[in-house]
Symmetry: C2
Subunit: 233 residues, 2 copies
């Protein structure tokens, strides 16, 4: 399995997909074409999304082909050299991926060794379910089940505090609710600017900030970049 699961496409104030580019470049070394899943886009077109990602991946000499152009998207996935699922709305993404049979097709490819890059919603769908997304449920997918390439849940854009004066649940409270309802799952709170790399049987946190781990019955704790993450495998 080769996975690069990125918290967020873009850090505040930076260019689109700028900060993860060096890591994406290393991860996709030797890849000349990537199959892109744009279905998390809601307020802009799939073609625009493809173009935006192509503009960035051109720097690595990689051609981007979006599944929305294919008559048979699952086949395009089956024949892919590498896979990429972009961020946006996780519910919209899951719904369309389920309708086209892409969850199962992508899992098979990942198991066969095809590299997978995802960010934000694209990292969520690599998990067993979409249950730890931050997104608004704007459409109803067939189910919450996702690709399941890893056994734990990721909460991308993990955030420590609420804006001042706001009384809604903090991210930590939300995840504590999740583990209460799902006591056998780990949740990784992946802060912005960070990513998880799974390659050669090893899982690694890359970034400048620690990741916050949650599991029912344990105090939440921080893991630093470079720590042993074998407990998640």
């Amino acid at each position: 399995m080769k996975l690069l699961l990125i918290s967020n496409s873009t850090n505040a104030g930076e260019e689109y997909l700028r900060y993860p580019m060096p890591e994406i470049g290393r991860f996709l070394q030797g890849v000349s074409e990537i199959v892109f899943v744009p279905y998390a886009a809601v307020t802009f077109s799939y073609a625009e999304y493809e173009k935006k990602v192509q503009a960035r991946l051109s720097e690595l000499g990689i051609r981007v082909r979006s599944v929305h152009r294919a008559k048979d998207p699952a086949r395009m996935v089956r024949e892919a050299e590498a896979l990429c699922v972009g961020g946006g709305n996780t519910f919209a993404l899951a719904k369309k991926m389920q309708e086209q049979g892409l969850m199962a097709a992508i899992l098979r490819k990942i198991k066969a060794g095809t590299p997978y890059v995802g960010w934000s919603a694209g990292s969520n769908v690599a998990c067993p379910t979409i249950c730890t997304t931050n997104d608004m449920p704007i459409v109803e997918p067939q189910s919450f089940r996702a690709v399941g390439a890893v056994k734990f849940q990721i909460n991308p854009h993990y955030l420590d505090a609420n804006p001042e004066g706001h009384a809604g649940e903090t991210r930590e409270q939300r995840i504590l609710e999740y583990i209460e309802a799902n006591p056998r799952r780990w949740v990784a709170g992946l802060r912005e600017g960070c990513m998880l790399r799974h390659a050669e049987g090893k899982l690694e946190l890359i970034g400048k900030r620690p990741m916050r781990m949650f599991r029912k019955g344990m105090e939440p704790f921080e893991v630093q970049p470079g720590s042993d993450l074998s407990f998640l495998l």
Copy 2:
């Protein structure tokens, strides 16, 4: 129909359910017992939730009876003098309400004139669907369909900005995605400290802050407390 749909139970730094109490008191005038739906509670028990709400409603001389104690919760709803659905996790709430047939039972009661008070998740479930909740999908309900007492969607805890330095979607961006995918629905961004009161065929915004309105094809706009909201009925 008599509805009191409250954005949030508690303003930051205040006591539980403190700010909406005068309004709840006026709304429930003459009511001696209320049937309470506690299923949005996840990290604390339904009994604790009932107790917490009872402690506050005792000030109004109202007895709180939680449906989780009933063998037949739908029957308890059918026989209720007034209904109250508390906040917490909207997905957990919807799942349990659907399992017990409470969505339909509550709609029938509301149509028959029984007063309904909800806050946060309890306001979300009064809408056609749970699609504009801010909550994390920690469990999978049977469907996203909810009570449907009103024809528009409420986004409770509506928030204008992200915390500084955070690149996730703003609330406005999330709702713009919702209306893109659901072009025939109004969404009311109900800020904390505010509530919607529906009585005698009239819908009214109560609170010190305006409400932000969204619909596909229109620029989002603000409505002030006291404005004509008949376009939502």
